[in-house]
Amino acid sequence: MKNANNNQSRRSFLKVTSLTGGGMMIGFSWFANLIPNEAIAAATDKMDWVELTGFIKITPDNQVKIFNPNPEFGTNVMTSLPMMVNEELEADWSKVIVEMGDYDTPRFKSQFTGGSRAMAMAWKPLRTAGATARLLLMQAAANEWGVPISELTVSKGVVMHKASNKSANYGALATAAAKLPKPEKVELKKASEFTLLGTPQKNKVGKEIVGGESLFTLDYKMEGMLIAMVIHPPAFGMQLKSFDATEALKMPGIKAVFDFQVYKDGYVKAGFDTRAFNKLIAVVGNSTWEVMNARKKVVAQWEPIQDTKEMVMARGGKREEIIPAGLESTENHLRLMHEMQKKPTRVARKDGDPETAFKNATKVLERTYTAPFLAHNPMEPISCVAHITDEKAFFVAPIQIPEMMKQNIVSNLDIKPEQIEMKLARMGGGFGRRAYGHYIVEAGHISKRVKAPVKLIYTREDDLTNGIYRPTYIMTYKAAIDKDNNVTAIHVIGGGIPESPLHENRFPAGVFDNYLAESWDMPSNITIGAYRAPRSNFNASAEQSFLDELAETVGKDPLDFRIEMLKKAKANPVGKNNDYNADRFIAVLELLKEKSNWGSTASKNAKRGVSAYFCHASYAAHVVDVTMKNGQPYVEKVVTAMDCGFVVNPEGAKNMVEGAVVDGIGNALYGELILEKGATVQKNLNNYRIIRHREAPKKIDVHFVQNNIDPTGLGEPPFPPVFAAVANALYKATGKRLYNQPYLKELGKV
């Protein structure tokens, strides 16, 4: 049985063309599934200029190439997405070549409303494109052999007609196939018929990676290319006053030193145009080391900024944003956040009568959680190649969402959209940092000015001191408990600088008759942005730590307590907007319980912590085992259960989950960016702590719920619940509940 796919609007995103020299090319719309979901939602509601293209190219020499325009920053989309195409195309996967497509002249327009359906949105168009190509090739064979298409079969890129013993490979059929009309109806396989999807497949770019081939923007070279670096103010809340480049210009290999303005006065920033310092000094020269040295010779004067108002384009339209003057500090932030928790705030959701429930409570458990700013620190420092001429604006850019940069480039560099030619390089990590492409515009300005191709390089210090960070957050949870140890109400207040972390409709909303969620935020001049599962990465830590302590307070097993609450939410959901599916959530916890042997004697004796979270349409839960190693708590083993719908590439998926778990452990224990007098204290990887080999667990056991639901988020959802699982296990190991990240600091172990 096959599923009919009658979605006309999707089919219209397909275009078949002949190739000069023979062969066939199918262009199709390929949705960006790497967009941090909440970031997209925050950016704008409707992005009708979003255009994406993918291509299948089949040449007469039987070479099948899939061009993947999806930016790759390590989530393995260069393998998993072409797998979707090839499931239906049925070319020989071992010979299919995958190449990074360019962000090029748009061919098809599509609407992208963003959010957690991105992966699911790629799911059908990619398979439809593959199926269309296969049908055309089969039709070409049917026409040539004069047999009905229904008598043909396909395997590994060869079309066969059993009865007449005829066969032809795709290459031989492609030229004729390109001239045929698009099939009216395209049927897609059911999950039970998949032969490639759902099987473990190796990274298609693995050889190039281990060989050290030029894949990244930093590796890119072009004729006459110069190296550029920028100098930014030494602290947030400062700006450039004046500078003297006399000495710098005398340095060997230096071509130019000048200041420039990144965004025009009055430019309305969209959600991904975040930039703290609008006036920068550029130093341009022949080689990296020469520019690095000359940069030190520039003498700059800085001055404090005034309170500034800026128009930004955000969810719900244009709004004014205040950038306050002043030099901020972590110490101040913490003080302010604790103060704000006690003030009246905005009520985001209220169910029942929480006030009365709290008044009548026998016991109230109240706990407050905080987390610091975090820097993304993608392994490859920020960079961009630009060559702007009168005719063309050429870029090689590591950017998570190229489309989101278009308006910015067009407006601030005075370039027409059709002049933009952007090569997407493989990214040395992103984690949200490379959604904010101010560096593309900076590189463009510099190239325009020096009239040459330039490669803009940020050093690690540049990015760490001038980043787009995960904000600092606070959250207070209160539970009202009656005389029979029943929880009768929950009250949560979430706030942050400069963004609130609260998701008011997330679990445990929906469980309790009386529920109150409040939210606040406070302006800041520190730039912030999406960071692997934005907001969720903190919410989960507060919520899941609190539920653990609550379970203990009411005398319940922490894992069973969560299942019990979810069962309640399923049987009798409170409120309408609860954003999780209780059944899927329960199933993940049941799977975790089984796979971790939760409840066994050995399990009870181990220093274990559990935590579960739902975000980006997926469910993830962990059990973490902590031991002591050289006097330090050490996360030795993790068992993970996940429901992210159908698992496209189990091997790649496992790798991603392992990475998210390691990242979570590292940030929970060590992650912290401290600010003093407006400047970050940590300036490089020698004092910004990232988890290292010997701190990584010995074992991470990953288990997926098996289902055929369209694939959902995978890179982000396993990350948020790690924090609380670690905190809850640390409590078992040390007897100390932890409320403030990073946990090792609170434990006095650093």
Partner: protein, 156 residues
């Protein structure tokens, strides 16, 4: 500016650079050997790891003037004369180690040097030899497994 005679991946090469230029930038900018990566520039991440006379070195910390006649090997130089991949690279592929891939050449260079000096490392020895190499994507478990596999395969 000064001229330096280097031996890189078995080939004699001449470069003209400021004597203070770290080997990292000589490799990347002057010799176009971009498999050696820039991650921090302060010796804290291992992305720039190369071999100097067979021993792992952070090339961002080594001025070109200090290289002298010592043999420099980069990731581009660890394939065999017949262009066959190094057993460590093969193990990396078999275990599908990489995510973004940026740190992996540095990791491989550290691993190759480790196995050369200690063909049969314990888990603790692997951890301590590799701990200077950060993987921001968190592929540590696979890296360790790949080193163990490479150690096993070269024993055969």
């Amino acid at each position: 500016m000064a001229k330096f005679q280097l031996k890189v991946n078995g080939k004699p090469l001449q470069v003209e650079a400021d004597p203070s230029t770290p080997l990292l930038w000589v490799l990347r900018d002057h010799l176009n050997l971009v498999g050696t990566k820039f991650g921090c520039g302060v010796g804290a991440c291992g992305a720039c790891t190369v071999h100097l006379n067979g021993r792992a070195m952070r090339s961002c910390q080594l001025p070109v003037s200090a290289v002298g006649t010592q043999a420099v090997t980069t990731i581009e130089g660890i394939v065999s004369a017949e262009k066959e991949m190094h057993p460590v690279q093969k193990a990396w592929l078999e275990l599908d180690v990489a995510q973004c891939g940026y740190c992996q050449t540095g990791q491989i260079m550290s691993a190759v040097a480790l196995l050369k000096s200690n063909p049969n490392p314990t888990e603790a020895e692997i951890e301590s030899a590799m701990t200077g190499n950060i993987c921001r994507c968190g592929t540590y478990l696979r890296i360790k497994a790949a080193i163990q596999q490479a150690a096993k395969s070269s024993k055969k």
